[in-house]
């Protein structure tokens, strides 16, 4: 079977929900971040596929992807900076150990 739009959409949706699953089940901040990266990638895949198969005359999807990648990088950078800071202040990046915020 010739792979086409639907195949790619399947992959991206699967990837998206894998990411969501990871985000739900993970407790480690870094792994949660990874899950988010998977989600963002699935989105990128969607954009590219749509751009390619449906609306090739404009490059909206493509540009969107580019910007998403850039933002993902920025986000990851800030997140990791915070993680490192957090780790330095109490030596754990497990969310559930980081529960000082209680009332």
């Amino acid at each position: 079977m010739q792979p086409g739009l639907y195949h790619i959409l399947f992959i991206s949706a699967a990837l998206f929900f894998i990411g969501v699953y990871g985000f739900f089940t993970r407790r480690n901040l870094i792994t949660m971040l990874m899950s988010i990266e998977l989600i963002l990638n699935s989105v990128n895949l969607n954009f590219i596929a749509f751009n390619k198969y449906l609306w090739p005359e404009k490059m909206d999807g493509l540009f969107f992807t580019v910007f998403i990648i850039a933002i993902a990088a920025a986000e990851a950078a800030v997140a990791i900076a915070i993680i490192i800071n957090l780790y330095r202040s109490h030596h754990s990046i497990d969310v559930e150990q980081a529960e000082e915020l209680k009332n």
């Binding site: 969501v20 985000f23 739900f24 969310v95 529960e99």
Partner: protein, 630 residues
């Protein structure tokens, strides 16, 4: 005829006394308060007597018309329905203003001596003023709501005067009781007013009576047509109004307040609880008499029976009481019963209306001799400092004036011929004889009992050996107290000679007085028998009373305990109303209604507490939940 303003002064002068003494009495007028009050009342009395004189001397062919001297719209409920403050002149109101002002004046004068050491002297006179004002307003009412207003004011001044010795718990209790019991009766009065006013479309006496008695009036037809529990609306209205009257007039079973009301100063008892206020009920029935007589005769019958039963019960109880004021109180109740059933056995107009005239006549004479009795008793109490018969005896030497006047009054009330009570009582008995023999026999029995207990009282006070020596022997009462006694004794002796039927009758037509010697023999001899029995039992010191009382056993005890009516009331109020209604209501409010509100609050709090814990839950599971909820 005096002009309206002058007539208005009759009630307003005592009111002025009240305001003046009430506001400034304590600080400014002090011991002159009594003089001021008395002076104002004297003026009022003079005007009243003059007015009555003028009124009665201007008949139109022997018939006296009803005059509305003044009318002022006090409160307009709806077109045609308004409370008017009016001055209503008719024979009975004229008779009443004379009685009220006269007795009140006597009491004012008497109190100058009797109350002179009292700390709250001016307050006392202020209250007297208020009472006199209210009573005069009541009798002069032209509007049923006006009568209700003054009715209530009379009640409150009675409350004030009974509770005059406010630091005495018994006085406080008695005043409360008097007010509440009459208030309960007034509830009936009020609803009665609502019923009658709705049926007749007016509050004005004249209009109301003419609407509710003329068979053609459409209001009457509709009202008579609609019935409730088998009685027509008018009957209900009348019954309820009568309930008010019965309460004020201490008719069985609403009489329980009257004996207790003797806690007040004795002159007050003379004024309010003997001569004036307690007859307001009779007056009210007389005022609405045409409605009762023409539209709802069945109700009139009931009134007759209530009066008769009250008369006899009170007489029986009076025989057993030892507190002299209480004896007098029950005697009052009994006599009012006479007046009431006299109305009950009366018809409207002509000969049939004899009972009406008799009732009013008896009201008039009774005011004299009963006030006299109370004032005399007051003098005695003043002298011995006790209300109990056992503390008295042999006082005829010490207080001759009191003795003689008291004797006259006793004779008058016992129905001894040639004294006032005789004439009025004979008429009543005659009326009863013609209309309702059963009541007649009861009345006859009662009049015998009356003679008995009055003389029991008389002998116990003035004869026999002094029960114990009195420490201090001050003289008899001061002149200010003697004067009213004498004046009233004259009245008690002579009032019967007034040709009453000429002036007062059920329909305004003059009524010739009937006097049949043959008819009088039975009552008179019964009266004398009563006196004789009293003489045997109490003058001879034979120990007979004890024997009789123990012989009667349960009956005596029941009568002594006033047939346990007080206890029944107490049970109903304290046990039933307080415990079964009041307490549950209060509990319900605190726990259920309030509880619901608190419950709402607490539930919110609890939910909040619950989900607050939820917010503490682990971060990722929270997200999980959050997405799950989506």
């Amino acid at each position: 005829m005096p002009n309206a303003l002058t007539i208005a002064l009759i009630p307003l002068l005592p009111l002025a006394g009240f305001v003046l003494l009430g506001l400034f009495g304590k600080r400014y007028t002090g011991k002159y308060s009594g003089i001021i009050g008395t002076a104002l009342l004297l003026a009022s009395t003079l005007i009243a007597v003059y007015t009555a004189y003028e009124y009665f001397s201007h008949s139109q062919g022997g018939k006296y018309s009803n005059i509305i001297a003044a009318k002022y719209t006090w409160l307009q409920f709806a077109p045609g329905v308004s409370i008017d403050m009016g001055l209503y002149l008719d024979p009975i109101s004229m008779m009443m203003i004379v009685v009220v002002t006269l007795v009140s004046l006597m009491v004012h004068i008497y109190s100058l001596g009797y109350m002179k050491d009292e700390e709250r002297f001016s307050t006392y006179y202020a209250y007297l003023g208020l009472f006199t004002f209210s009573m005069l307003g009541l009798v002069l009412s032209s509007n049923i709501f006006q009568i209700y207003i003054f009715w209530e004011l009379v009640g409150v001044s009675s409350f004030l005067l009974i509770g005059f010795y406010y630091d005495k718990p018994s006085a406080v209790a008695a005043s409360k009781k008097a007010f509440i019991v009459t208030r309960f009766a007034d509830l009936g009065f009020l609803i009665g007013i609502l019923v009658l006013s709705y049926a007749s479309g007016t509050l004005d006496f004249n209009t109301m009576i003419s609407t509710l008695t003329s068979p053609e009036s459409s209001q009457l037809k509709t009202a008579a047509a609609s019935s409730f529990l088998g009685m027509s609306v008018i009957t209900w209205g009348g019954l309820l109004v009568f309930m008010g009257g019965a309460g004020k007039s201490a008719m069985f079973p609403l009489h329980i307040w009257l004996p207790d009301a003797m806690e007040g100063p004795t002159p007050v008892s003379a004024l309010i609880h003997a001569a004036t206020m307690v007859v307001a009920g009779v007056y009210l029935v007389a005022r609405l008499f045409p409605i009762f007589a023409i539209t709802t005769p069945i109700l009139l019958e009931l009134i007759g029976w209530v009066g008769a039963v009250s008369a006899v019960i009170a007489a029986i109880i009076a025989c057993t009481q030892t507190d002299i004021k209480r004896v007098l109180a029950y005697s009052t109740m009994s006599q009012i019963g006479f007046m009431m059933f006299a109305l009950g056995v009366s018809g409207y107009g002509g000969e049939a209306g004899l009972g009406y005239t008799a009732s009013m006549f008896h009201l008039f004479t009774h005011a004299m001799f009963k006030a006299l009795l109370f004032l005399g008793a007051g003098a005695v109490i003043h002298y011995v400092h006790s209300n109990e018969m056992k503390d008295m005896g042999g006082l005829r030497k010490a207080m001759p004036v009191t003795h003689i006047t008291f004797l006259i009054a006793c004779l008058a009330i016992a129905g001894v011929p040639m004294l006032s009570g005789f004439f009025s009582k004979e008429e009543i008995l005659l009326a009863a004889y013609h209309h309702n023999p059963a009541i007649y026999w009861i009345a006859l029995l009662t009049s015998g009992l009356t003679a008995f207990y009055m003389f029991r009282l008389y002998f116990n006070i003035f004869w026999n050996k002094p029960y114990h020596a009195h420490g201090e022997h001050h003289g008899e009462a001061p002149a200010s107290m003697k004067f009213p006694l004498i004046l009233l004794a004259v009245g008690a002796a002579l009032a019967g000679y007034i040709p009453f039927g000429k002036y007062v009758s059920s329909n305004g037509e003059p009524l010739a007085s009937h006097f049949e010697l043959s008819f009088s023999i039975l009552p008179v001899s019964l009266g004398i028998a009563g006196i004789a029995i009293a003489w045997i039992m109490y003058r001879k010191q034979s120990g007979l009373p004890e024997k009789v009382s123990s012989g009667l056993g349960g009956l005596y005890k029941a009568a002594y305990r006033k047939f346990y009516i007080d206890e029944i009331y107490l049970f109903i109020t304290k046990k039933v109303l307080f415990n079964l209604v009041g307490r549950p209501a209060a509990w319900f409010d605190r726990n259920v209604v309030d509880g619901l509100v608190n419950f709402t609050g607490n539930t919110t709090q609890m939910v909040s507490e619950r989900i607050k814990n939820c917010s503490r839950a682990k971060y990722s599971s929270m997200l999980c939940t959050s997405c799950w909820l989506r």
